[in-house]
Chain length 597, copies 2
Amino acid sequence: MVEHGGLDIMCLKNKYCHSSSSSSSSEEKKQQEEEEERKTRTSSSSSGTRLDYPRKSSEVLSGQYGTNVLLVGAALLLAVAHRGPAVAEEHLLAFTTGLMALQLLWMAWYIWIRDRRGDLRTERDAHATTCWIRGGLTLLALLSLIMDAFRIGHYVGFNSCVSPVLGVYPVVHATHTMAQVHFLWFHIKDVIKNFETFERFGVIHAVFTNLLLWCNGVMSEAEHFLNNHKRRLYALGYGNLTIVHSEPHCNCTTSACSMFSNSLYYLYPFNIEYHIFVSAVLYVMWKNIGRVMDLSSNRKRSATKTRGLILGPILGLVALASTIGVLVVYVIHVEESLQTRQSAISMFYCYGIIMLVFMCSAGAAGLPHLPGRPHADGHLREPLDTELLFGSSVGSWLMSWCSVVAVLGSTSSPPYRWTNFIYSLFTILEKCIQNLFIIESLHRRRDDGEDPDSPAAPEIFSVTSSLAPPYNGILNRAYETPERDCVTMDNEQAESGRAYRSPRKPSKVPLTEGNNLVDPLITKTQVLKNIAIFLLMCNISLWILLAFGCRPQYDNGLEQEAFGFSIWTTVLNFAIPMNLFYRMHSVASLFEVFRRA
Amino acid sequence: MVEHGGLDIMCLKNKYCHSSSSSSSSEEKKQQEEEEERKTRTSSSSSGTRLDYPRKSSEVLSGQYGTNVLLVGAALLLAVAHRGPAVAEEHLLAFTTGLMALQLLWMAWYIWIRDRRGDLRTERDAHATTCWIRGGLTLLALLSLIMDAFRIGHYVGFNSCVSPVLGVYPVVHATHTMAQVHFLWFHIKDVIKNFETFERFGVIHAVFTNLLLWCNGVMSEAEHFLNNHKRRLYALGYGNLTIVHSEPHCNCTTSACSMFSNSLYYLYPFNIEYHIFVSAVLYVMWKNIGRVMDLSSNRKRSATKTRGLILGPILGLVALASTIGVLVVYVIHVEESLQTRQSAISMFYCYGIIMLVFMCSAGAAGLPHLPGRPHADGHLREPLDTELLFGSSVGSWLMSWCSVVAVLGSTSSPPYRWTNFIYSLFTILEKCIQNLFIIESLHRRRDDGEDPDSPAAPEIFSVTSSLAPPYNGILNRAYETPERDCVTMDNEQAESGRAYRSPRKPSKVPLTEGNNLVDPLITKTQVLKNIAIFLLMCNISLWILLAFGCRPQYDNGLEQEAFGFSIWTTVLNFAIPMNLFYRMHSVASLFEVFRRA
């Protein structure tokens, strides 16, 4: 398929070539098969005008299918959370196991078909993921596998009195994880062109299966944290909370059961991040189905320059180290008497304020150093990234505003009342500045004389940024049947009215600024790189704090007083997973800012 | 500005005109002022490359400002819902009153500035709203005014013991409503080109103020409904629920207080729809800021043909009439003994199944009658509409899946158990089919030989469909400074790489199908129109049922058993407002389908 795509772009440029594309592949048999399929496709879309029909419909239908799969899972989750007689955890696990098995079947089918047809003909989207992302995901998958091993161990210990689903689930999950990592390494960049409708359902099924596993992880984690919190409150004398025990009703036959169940909770955060990131990557693959690749941009970029990188990494490491210190002190002290507890919370807020002030200043200092030119395709590159950043900020903003309202309306006055207030305001401000910094950075490019349209376009790191809207829409439609004469294409081009041009048309215009400004630009770039790396490490720090149980929002009592236990835990259960995703996504986006600067 | 825009498009077509655009306006003084401002703008964006900087930043910043305003309100709402000592309803009302006053100031400033500069120079987006929408909004606004009058009457009766904020709020709200309706009629189509950054904040403030008022309405309505529901449960003997009374602690000094507070709740649904629709319309205005209009499409379409419209409207009227019957019977019977209550619920489900079967069949029957050609700019027209339809379906789908889970897991077996199950499945299916029908309809156009690029392009009804992404992005950037020589523009055009062309380039290619197919097409059109009008009236029916208290999800008890009271009411409080919005938005979209067919 690669050759056809390339030829097509040439076609479009010359506008009057009638070639019907001689494939350079040598395997005659496969070629014949392919042509037969093509004929079938062409005859079903006889006049060439109905081409868009199955695409749009299958997009809508598969989207609805995926959403409904997730919602069935969500309904089961809610029923399990109630712990009523109707639905038990086994039902939920059986449902997710079924979904994972279905995804495994689809992946096996996909790989088998790819192998049968020969891998050479599959187009690839070089921007879909990078080895950084895949490496990171593999690491997270390894930790998920350890978690599965612990779950199996736990099941073996209690196998006499628990449902066999609890044993099947981790086995299927482990198989699913390994198969999915294999898929991520070898097939995630594929641009699917055959059996599009079927594959669309397969990919969206994978996306929503991972999202459901994410929801499941988030709920288990939240429940565990809530139980811990109630236990703490109980120890402090608030005796009217019921702690839900999910332990089985028989004795463990091995000696390691409690070790298994306690260790599980340290691995949850990684499992959660793994699933949400895989679903984002698979979503990009879904969007890529049937897309026509811009082949000239499928090049790698040279290694990232690291000259002048001193202050950012050093400050970042300081932040990271102090974070780990604060985490340890907090987790130990918050379990103790009321006074050490209060001092631990105060310490956290003071530390948080210092951190956020530095982050705000870094972001604000970075803004004037951004390059002035908007990216030629800046509008196209970052819409989904922007939406994800924005959307995931909402949870944290809501939490902070609730804290502000609680502090202002509070009748009690613990020592951390006003530090909490200042901390919340800075959290809001920091996200505003950081969002602006990231969006503006991704939106512009350097004035260093590098031709934006040259083949050495920077490789894009972000999981989502390879989605340029015109590719999904109008371009796709025009490129769809590689053999059509360019006259037909020209018709369609005229019809579609306004919106496309041959991709990567070389720039004929000399840049008005550039080259003569090299020295100040290098300084600017260095400043930007330092700031990006500092913010990146700060975001990792804040992710660590939140993921490993440093959540003063549960412990300080102010918000609970203003909103009541149930409303406030609902807000936290909604906001904390979003905040965790925000921090991780910021890390990915800031790494892209760093590479592009 | 109209003249400059027009000249600019010519410029772009000819590519080498150096004219600096002679305005045809006669008022010399205003022209001078304008030119001075233009000079200031040009000098601040000296090289022409920094133009995008303030636009993108102000978009991001104003978006973040608006979101945070809403979230402060949401935090206050949550605190009020808890009824703790910290925050009382007065605080929330004072906050919203402040926001409304701010919006009033902005609107006054906006109108004053427009009047001072002369209205002639404001570009308008003919697609932004139609008189149908504005008429409908005016009607809803009138009902909101009656609601304000009732609120004032209620305050007068209790003025000795309630906070004066309860009196100030309806007065400000009434003023706000009247001013906003004036704004909707005379300024909503404006495409803002001056003080863009400031106006962006003003418009987004208006959007989120209306959204907050919507949230407030939804919460009051949900609380009222929940109290009614608890009262009913109490009457049936479930005595352990506390009913929260929000009545003041003194006697009413007039005789009409109870009439006022009882009538209020019949007006809530209209007030809620008013605010959500106004915010959607204002959001389109926000997106239009700084956009360059395609002047050739600013024409009106001839009147909609209504020939052959018989079956659809008749069946629709039957549906509407039976709905009102069912509503009345349900609302009366559900208050009575357990048995009449159960029969009322059974009746509702049977009626609902019949209705949904008809709607599913109509939607499915309509799909093959859709025209085969995708709209030339179909991809650009409906993205936001699609997202809104999809997003608002989620609430209803979640609710239905919860019902399915509850029925399957239930231990009790009321007579309506399996009708509830079938009803829920049909609700899901109906939304899937209807979404596909609407999206596909908006996505394609007739093959009746009408040139899609002719000036008589159909007027767009939907509140959101005038947002074509390329206009927001790349085109804007190029058109921004009307006097720049076209050589500079040409540079930018080459720079921006791929994505624009002169808008509405006339099609040179004769359509391959058309004219000879007129007769079957008329039949197809008639079938489509009948189906659209039938679905439209069914959606109105379902909106009426839901808005006026026919909510068996509260009354049937099955879901409450499976999910518990608090989880289930949370799900309903989330899902029902979304479902209401879905029905209203479907009505608007189906009306567009009807007009376009």
